[in-house]
């Protein structure tokens, strides 16, 4: 177990170092930092001094090492655009993205699981096949199209919910939440649905496949032979045996939800990390881009590692196999 833990953690660190390298390359070589920082009046001497101060004349490895050490401390430098600390900028935007991804995850479970169960139990009926078909469309529709369609129908035509923005937010320490105000919750609805749609279809298809598998198992047949009512078999005996893979997938996919939120945030003008990133790209704000890349990757890698470790703790066979 210890060996497995060490291996898994080493793996995660390696991935993060690779990401940091990529972020560093963007920061250092996609345009000259001094040119991007400097303003018109700066003299040549000032520029050389700045170059020296930033350590840009050191060897590649030294610079990369310094970048990694700083990044590990949460220091990504200051934004070229407004001179603010990059980490502070991201921390400001972090709650918005987090709430969006969390609500999308909850939606995907609340909608995906029952749909999966229903389509598994009533397979062959027209509505199950219909849902299966719709889910294929759901998987293949780009999320910005979904977002625009949702805005058109629910915000523009029906006027039920706001089309963009976060509504009113309440500050809880450094965390700003939209969940405590009516307008905040209403604003959250469309973007989280747009973001969740793909995940809903994934959950539904996974639950359906797992359910069909479990319903064929002996213990389900034996439960029937004991006189357990169908509904109870479906929702108590069978569904519970399907939840492990669903939880795993949900945890694993949370990272990609945050990454995909970039598109949704742009469509809905959602003031999250994704929007921050897009703005950074348009302004060639390299430190912000590098910071975003590192933070999102960090969330991604951490979740995957945790899920892997949790799995090994829970399933003794897996633990033995990876020893």
């Amino acid at each position: 177990m210890i060996v497995f833990l060490i291996k898994r953690l080493a793996n995660a660190v390696l991935v993060m170092l690779a990401v940091a390298l990529l972020a560093f390359l963007i920061f250092r070589f996609a345009g000259d930092p001094v040119e991007l920082m400097a303003n018109e009046q700066m003299s040549q001497a000032d520029r050389i001094e700045l170059r020296e101060k930033l350590g840009l004349n050191d060897s590649f490895l030294t610079q990369y090492g310094r970048f990694v050490v700083n990044a590990a401390r949460g220091d990504f430098g200051i934004s070229y655009r407004n001179g603010q600390d990059v980490m502070t900028l991201i921390a400001e935007r972090f709650p918005a993205t987090m709430e969006l991804a969390l609500v999308a995850t909850i939606l995907s479970l609340l909608i995906g699981i029952p749909l999966g169960v229903v389509t598994a139990i009533h397979r062959g009926r027209w509505y199950s096949e219909g849902l299966q078909f719709v889910s294929i469309i759901g998987v293949s529709l780009p999320s910005f199209v979904v977002g625009i369609l949702l805005i058109l129908v629910f915000a523009v035509t029906l006027g039920l919910v706001p089309a963009f923005g976060r509504g009113d937010v309440v500050q809880l320490g450094w965390w700003s939440t939209g969940l405590l105000t009516a307008s905040g919750r209403a604003s959250l609805l469309l973007p989280s649905l747009a973001l969740a749609l793909y995940q809903i279809t994934l959950v539904m298809r996974l639950v359906r496949a797992e359910m069909m598998e479990v319903l064929r198992s002996d213990f389900v047949k034996f439960a029937r032979a004991r006189g357990v009512p169908r509904r109870r078999i479906y929702f108590r005996h069978a569904l519970r045996n399907c939840l492990m893979p669903v939880v795993t997938m949900t945890a694993m996919n949370f990272g990609s939800l945050i990454a995909f939120a970039l598109i949704t945030e742009t469509v809905f003008q959602w003031p999250g990390m994704g929007m921050l990133f897009i703005q950074a790209v348009t302004f060639l704000d390299m430190p912000v881009m590098a910071g975003y890349l590192c933070i999102v990757s960090f969330i991604f890698v951490t979740l995957n590692t945790l899920v892997d470790i949790a799995y090994a703790v829970i399933d003794p066979r897996l633990r033995d196999a990876t020893r």
């Binding site: 198992s217 002996d218 213990f219 047949k221 034996f222 439960a223 029937r224 032979a225 004991r226 006189g227 357990v228 009512p229 169908r230 005996h237 519970r240 045996n241």
Partner: protein, 328 residues
């Protein structure tokens, strides 16, 4: 006739089961009739695919669609049950018919304690409080010979050995004091050394509770030791049924005689009954006349033309022209 039948716990009359399929309908059971009296153990034997499990499933109303009962009747304690809907059958399954499956490793839900599964079954069928149901569950565990039942009550299936799990399954089958238990190869998946323990436990419990048992098995040794009567099946039909002593010593049907010849010595166990030359026909390729005729050493012209119906012979029933006017 009616007099005798009404005293039976289970009375299956002319049962037919068919599976409609793309290439036409196959009949998995045709004209199966058998009855079991209270406290009696009926052994059911026959080669793999003969329809033994199918008979048990049809009685419990557990046929997998599109399989369905296409003819005949099933009576349980004087009540016809083959036409009940699934809701009504839920009250029969577990309550009046207990079930034991082949593989105890997969019969129990891995995510629930055995106590939870026992209490679930008990409370589905008997009006007992949670505490009373738990007390009954522990009592049942004690009865099936699980040591320290109070402590074991909270354990999960994977914490038990195969033999112990099958004891739990037996406790589940007995949970609501059913009149009939259908045990489909209850010892096949178990270690040889504990098979005898499980069969004798089953025998003893059913004697104590007056429960009738339909015991499906490949093991003629088990039949000889535990069954009162034995039914022999072949290609979805019943070929012979009678008291176990008579059938073992003096079988009427050539197929049964072939089966008996395949037992090395009474009491020793064989895995498969495969001493008879040839193999059982597939259900969609059953020969006309007697289904057994291509393999029967005594077959005559009549056997290839007409199908022999099950008819009373001596103390039992046999479906063979030898017992009904000759094979010519």
């Amino acid at each position: 006739m009616t007099e005798h039948l009404s005293s039976a716990v289970l009375d299956v009359r002319g049962l037919c089961v068919e599976f409609p399929g793309r290439h036409g309908t196959v009949s998995a059971l045709s004209d199966v009739s058998l009855s079991i009296r209270p406290g009696e153990i009926l052994g059911v034997v026959g080669e793999s695919g003969a329809g033994k499990s199918m008979t048990g499933l049809a009685v419990q109303g557990l046929l997998e669609p599109p399989g369905r009962i296409s003819g005949g009747e099933v009576w349980l304690a004087g009540r016809r049950i083959d036409q009940l809907d699934d809701k009504e059958m839920q009250q029969v399954r577990g309550r009046q018919i207990g079930a034991i499956f082949q593989d105890p490793l997969t019969s129990l839900n891995p995510l629930f304690t055995i106590g939870a599964q026992l209490v679930e079954t008990i409370r589905l069928h008997l009006k007992l409080s949670k505490a009373d149901a738990k007390a009954r569950a522990i009592q049942l565990l004690k009865e099936v010979g699980i040591p320290a039942p109070e402590a074991r009550y909270d354990h999960y299936p994977h914490q038990f050995s195969g033999g112990m799990r099958q004891r739990v399954v037996i406790a589940l089958a007995l949970a609501a004091e059913p009149k009939l238990i259908i045990a489909d190869e209850p010892t096949t998946a178990l270690d040889v050394s504990i098979q005898a323990q499980i069969t004798s436990l089953l025998r003893r419990l059913c004697d104590d509770h007056g429960t009738a048992v339909m015991l499906v098995t490949h093991d003629m040794g088990v039949i000889a030791e535990t069954a009162d009567r034995v039914a022999v099946m072949y290609a979805g039909r019943l070929v012979e049924i009678g008291p176990v002593g008579d059938v073992l010593k003096n079988a009427r049907h050539p197929y049964t005689r072939g089966l008996m010849a395949s037992i090395p010595a009474l009491g020793r166990r064989v895995e498969r009954l495969n001493q008879i030359d040839g193999s059982m026909p597939r259900l969609n390729a059953i020969p006309t006349g007697c289904a057994f005729n291509p393999r029967c050493p005594e077959a005559g012209p009549r056997c290839r033309k007409d199908r022999p119906e099950p008819a009373p012979v001596g103390s039992g029933v046999s479906a063979c022209w030898l017992n009904a006017g000759g094979v010519l």
